[in-house]
Symmetry: C2
Subunit: 98 residues, 2 copies
């Protein structure tokens, strides 16, 4: 049972969807090789008018595992970060109602 | 297998968490009685500095089921909408990578 859920809310200017997806792929390829990674699901909005084009929901064994992966120097080698006109809002969550 | 995922990204001004949660409970109570509803998970940010305090991920059998529930007159009876200083950004999503 994963103990930490990491959600990336991804804000994308129109026309920058491919750049956002390419950046996400690079991050995902890196994170899935890190200790404590469990799974990820990238959601894309069906309609064109969604406020947030992509939302990624990842499961980790613990918040510390995710934080260690974030701090690892390997991350900078994989991706230079979010491309222009793409914002990643990333936080650790827990499920409080279901 | 659900065919539509409805995500609410919930932006909350500090101190308005309880009001947001009460509004969410009223919506959830209504939606879970509607045809095509499958499940929901309300996520709360662990850290105080998260850009989005709550993120709800619900599964529906189809987008049409969710849209019908949205249009039903019963919704207005259940909740007057989002309280002040609470914004719900709601869209329909599909999983494109996992």
């Amino acid at each position: 049972m994963p103990n930490a859920i990491v959600i990336n809310v991804i804000e994308v200017t129109e026309g920058r969807e491919d750049a956002a997806l390419t950046a996400w792929e690079a991050f995902a390829e890196y994170f899935r090789r890190q200790p404590g990674y469990v799974s990820t699901k990238l959601h894309r909005a069906v309609g064109a008018d969604a406020r947030f084009r992509f939302i990624n929901v990842a499961e980790w064994e613990s918040a510390d595992d995710f934080l260690s992966a974030l701090k690892s120097p390997g991350l900078a080698d994989v991706s230079p970060g979010a491309p222009e006109q793409v914002n990643f809002f990333t936080s650790i969550y827990e499920v409080i109602r279901s």
